[in-house]
Amino acid sequence: MTRISRRGALKTLGAAAAAGRVAAWPESTAAQPAPEPVTTDALLPLADVLLPEELGVDGRRAATAAFVRWIRNYKEGADTDHGYGNTRIRSTGPSPAQKYPAQMGALDDAARARGAANFAGAPLELRRAIVEAALASAKVERLPSRPTGAHIASDLMGHYFNSSAAEDLCYRAAIGRDTCRGLPGSEARPAVLKK
C-alpha cells in the first residue's frame, strides 16, 4: 500500500472541498489520523529532565520517539485484556494524549512566569522544578504502567522506565524481557549491556 502523507492528503482534500468535489468521505481518508498532539522535538526538553543522562542525546530522542509512536498507535474503544481472573469486559478510553497539549502549554506558562521564554528555553534546573510542581499539582503519586493522561511528564517516564529497554539499562544487562529470545543461552547470566 502506498503511504499517503498526511499533509498531502489534507492538502488534496482541502482543494477538493474548495472545489465542491468532495462527495462521500472515502474510507481511507476517514481513517487519516488527527494531527499529533505532541511531537518528538517538542518533548525533548521534557525528556532531558525526565530520562536518564546515561541514555545520551540519541537515546533520549529514541525513547521519546517511542512514546510518540505509542500515542500515535493508540486505539480508543479496543477491547482490553480479560484473561484468567479478570472477567470485566472493558474498552480502552479516549487517548491520554488529548490532555497533553494543555499540559505542555501549562509548562510553558510556568516557565514564562519564571522569566523564561518558554519551557524549552528554561534552564534544566528550572525545568525540573516546573515538572515537579506540575506533578504535585496533578497529584501523581506513582509511575503509571501505561500512559493515563494524568500528566505527560509521568506518562513519558512511565512509558520509558517500564520498558524492556529501561530494565536492561537498570540491570546493565541484555535481558530483553519483551523480545522472543530463544531458549539457547537462557541458562547463562544475561550479557553485559553494550554501551
Binding site: 529532565v49 525526565l50 530520562l51 536518564p52 543522562e53 546515561e54 505509542w70 498507535n73 493508540y74 486505539k75 479496543a78 477491547d79 482490553t80 485484556d81 480479560h82 484473561g83 484468567y84 481472573g85 472477567t87 469486559i89 480502552t92 525540573r128 515538572v131 515537579e132 506533578l135 504535585a136 501523581v140 503519586e141 506513582r142 509511575l143 501505561r146 511528564a153 509521568s154 517516564m157 522506565f161 517500564n162 524492556s164 529501561a166 530494565e167 539499562l169 537498570c170 540491570y171 544487562a173 535481558i175 530483553g176 524481557r177 519483551d178 523480545t179 522472543c180 529470545r181 530463544g182 531458549l183 537462557s186 541458562e187 547463562a188 547470566r189 544475561p190
Partner: protein, 523 residues
C-alpha cells in the same frame, strides 16, 4: 436447520479438542460435530501483533472471544470461543497424585474418585503426549511415571538456576515445572522462543486447542459449528436417551438449529456444562437432565492458594522467563495420622519491590538519573515469588444455580456460582495457612531471605465440579467415564467431572479423564 451426526460435542475447549482428536482415531469416519457458542479465532498469523498490542496497550489478544450477554457470576474467565480458556492458559501440566483419588479411604475426607491411580496414570501419559508436555521427572518415588515426558524439560533460566540453588538449601526438592510448551518442534508447532508472554504465545510453542481443531478441520475429520449456542437438550419419551440438542445460531437472524446424534458429549467447562443440564429441565425432568441425584451444579470446587514474595541475597534479572517456575510435590503427601494439609509449591523469578518508582521511601520525587539510581539500588537483592495451591473440599452447597434475575437475550437464566467449603476444610483453614507460611519461612531462611507480601486468594483457582463422577447414582452425576447415570447416551467430560479440585493445576487431569472417556463414547 437440522444436523445429524454420530457424536455431537457441545463446547469447543481443550476437552472437546482432545476428545475429538481421539474419537477420529478410534473410529475413522465417525461423524463428529463440535458445537461452540463462541467464535473461532483462527488468526495465529496475527498473534505476534496481538501480543505486541497487549504489551503496549493492554488490548485483548483474542478479539471477539466473549459473548456479551452470556456471563456468569462467580466465573473467573469470560472467554467463550473455540479453544476456550485454553486459548490463553499458562500451559502448566502437573499431575494430581494418588492421594487425590483416595481422600476418603485414606483420610476420611471428601470422597474417593471412582478410578484407580494406575488407570488414570496411563491416560496422563496419553494426555502428555497429545498436548506435548516438556518436563523432567519428579525425583520422588511416589511420582513414578510409566512413560517419560515427550520432550525434555524447559531449561531453567539463569534466574531459576540461582533460585534452585537457593531453594535446595531449604531441604525441599524442586525441579522444572512440566508444561505443554515445546522444547523442540512438536505437534506441527514451533519450539519455545522464550517470548515471556506464555498466555499469548506468538509462536505456537504453547499448546492451545485451536491448533487441534485446525488440524482436524483441514483433514475433514470433524465439523465445527461455531457461534451456535446450545440452549436445551431434549430426551426421548422414556427419558433414557438424549435425542437432540436445540441450539440457536448467533449469526444472521438467529435461526434455530437442531442436532440429532447417537451420542451427546457436554464439554462446556465447569460453568456451562452444569448450566446446560439445568436449563434442559422439562416436565419430565423438572430439575434438569442427569440430575436425579440433585447434584448437577453441586460440589463446585477448585483449589485455594497462598502466595508470598521473598527477597534474598542473589543477583537476578527479572524477565528472563517469568512464567516458568520450579515446582515441588513434596507436600502432596500427608500421613493419615498427621493434620491434613496438602499443597504444591512453586517458585518463580519476581520483580516485586524492584520496579521503577516515582517517589522514594521518603516521598521525594524521582526523575531521570535519580529515578534510575533509586531503582538500581533496590535490585541489588533479588526476589522470588512463591505460591502454594492447597487442597480444599467442597460442600454440597458449593453450587452453580440458575439466576432468574439475569438472563441472556434468549431469555435463558444465567448461572451464578457460589463456592462453599466443607466443614472439615474450614476447620483446618488456619492450620493450613500456618503450615504454608512456615514452609515459605523455611525457604526464606536460606540466603538471608526476607518474606514480604503474603497474600491469600479470594477465589478458588482452576474451578471444576458440578457433574462429579462416582459409582453411586445417588451421590454422583456421571460414572468414571463421564457417562451420566440417568441418560445412557449423554456424557459430560472435562473439569465438571472432578469430585475434588486437587492441589495443583487441573487441566492435565481433566484432559486425561476426557481421553479415558473416549472408548466408552464410541462403544
Amino acid at each position: 436447520m437440522t444436523y445429524e451426526c454420530d457424536v455431537c460435542v457441545i463446547g469447543g475447549g481443550i476437552s472437546a479438542a482432545m476428545l475429538s482428536e481421539k474419537l477420529t482415531e478410534l473410529r475413522p469416519g465417525l461423524k463428529i460435530i463440535v458445537v461452540e457458542a463462541g467464535e473461532r479465532i483462527f488468526d495465529f498469523e496475527n498473534r505476534m501483533q496481538h501480543r505486541q498490542r497487549n504489551l503496549d496497550y493492554g488490548e485483548n489478544a483474542w478479539p471477539r472471544d466473549f459473548i456479551e450477554d452470556q456471563a456468569a457470576q462467580g466465573i473467573i474467565s469470560r472467554t467463550m470461543a473455540v479453544g476456550g480458556s485454553a486459548l490463553h492458559w499458562g500451559g502448566v501440566t502437573n499431575r494430581f497424585s494418588d492421594e487425590d483419588l483416595t481422600l476418603h479411604s485414606r483420610y476420611g475426607l471428601a470422597t474417593d474418585w471412582p478410578i484407580a491411580w494406575s488407570d488414570l496414570e496411563t491416560h496422563y501419559c496419553e494426555a502428555e503426549r497429545r498436548l506435548g508436555v516438556s518436563g523432567e521427572p519428579s525425583p520422588l518415588a511416589e511420582d513414578r511415571m510409566s512413560s517419560p515426558y515427550p520432550m525434555r524439560a524447559m531449561p531453567l533460566s539463569y534466574n531459576l538456576r540461582v533460585l534452585k540453588g537457593w531453594a535446595d538449601k531449604s531441604g525441599i526438592p524442586f525441579w522444572s515445572t512440566p508444561q505443554a510448551k515445546n522444547t523442540r518442534p512438536y505437534g506441527g508447532r514451533s519450539l519455545c522462543m522464550r517470548c515471556n508472554t506464555c498466555e499469548i504465545c506468538p509462536t505456537g510453542a504453547r499448546y492451545s486447542p485451536d491448533f487441534t481443531f485446525k488440524q482436524l478441520l483441514a483433514a475433514k475429520k470433524i465439523e465445527l459449528h461455531d457461534r451456535t449456542l446450545v440452549r436445551r437438550l431434549v430426551t426421548s419419551a422414556d427419558g433414557k436417551r438424549v435425542v437432540s440438542a436445540q441450539a440457536v445460531s448467533r449469526t444472521g437472524n438467529g435461526e434455530p438449529v437442531e442436532y440429532r446424534a447417537k451420542t451427546f458429549v457436554v464439554a462446556s467447562g465447569y460453568c456451562w456444562s452444569s448450566h446446560l443440564l439445568l436449563l434442559s429441565a422439562s416436565t419430565q425432568f423438572p430439575n434438569g437432565l442427569a440430575n436425579r441425584s440433585g447434584l448437577v451444579g453441586r460440589y463446585m470446587t477448585g483449589h485455594a492458594f497462598v502466595g508470598a514474595q521473598i527477597e534474598l541475597d542473589a543477583t537476578l534479572y527479572p524477565g528472563m522467563n517469568e512464567q516458568h517456575s520450579l515446582i515441588s510435590r513434596m507436600f502432596f503427601r500427608c500421613a493419615s495420622s498427621a493434620p491434613y494439609v496438602r499443597h504444591d509449591l512453586r517458585v518463580w523469578e519476581s520483580s516485586a519491590g524492584r520496579d521503577p518508582r516515582l517517589k522514594d521511601a521518603n516521598g521525594k520525587l524521582l526523575v531521570g538519573d535519580a529515578l534510575m539510581a533509586d531503582w538500581r539500588s533496590r535490585t541489588v537483592r533479588g526476589a522470588a515469588r512463591v505460591r502454594a495451591y492447597y487442597d480444599v473440599h467442597p460442600a454440597r452447597d458449593s453450587a452453580l444455580t440458575l439466576d432468574a434475575a439475569h438472563r441472556n437475550h434468549y431469555g435463558d437464566p444465567l448461572p451464578v456460582i457460589h463456592h462453599v467449603l466443607d466443614d472439615a476444610t474450614t476447620g483446618r483453614a488456619a492450620s493450613t495457612r500456618e503450615h504454608i507460611v512456615s514452609v515459605f519461612t523455611q525457604l526464606a531462611r536460606a540466603q538471608n531471605g526476607r518474606m514480604f507480601g503474603v497474600s491469600e486468594g479470594n477465589y478458588l483457582d482452576h474451578p471444576s465440579g458440578g457433574c462429579r463422577m462416582g459409582t453411586d447414582p445417588a451421590t454422583s452425576v456421571v460414572d468414571s467415564h463421564g457417562r451420566t447415570h440417568d441418560h445412557e447416551n449423554l456424557f459430560v467430560v472435562g473439569s465438571p467431572t472432578l469430585p475434588t479440585g486437587g492441589c495443583t493445576n487441573a487441566t492435565l487431569t481433566f484432559v486425561a479423564l476426557t481421553l479415558r472417556s473416549a472408548k466408552q463414547i464410541v462403544a
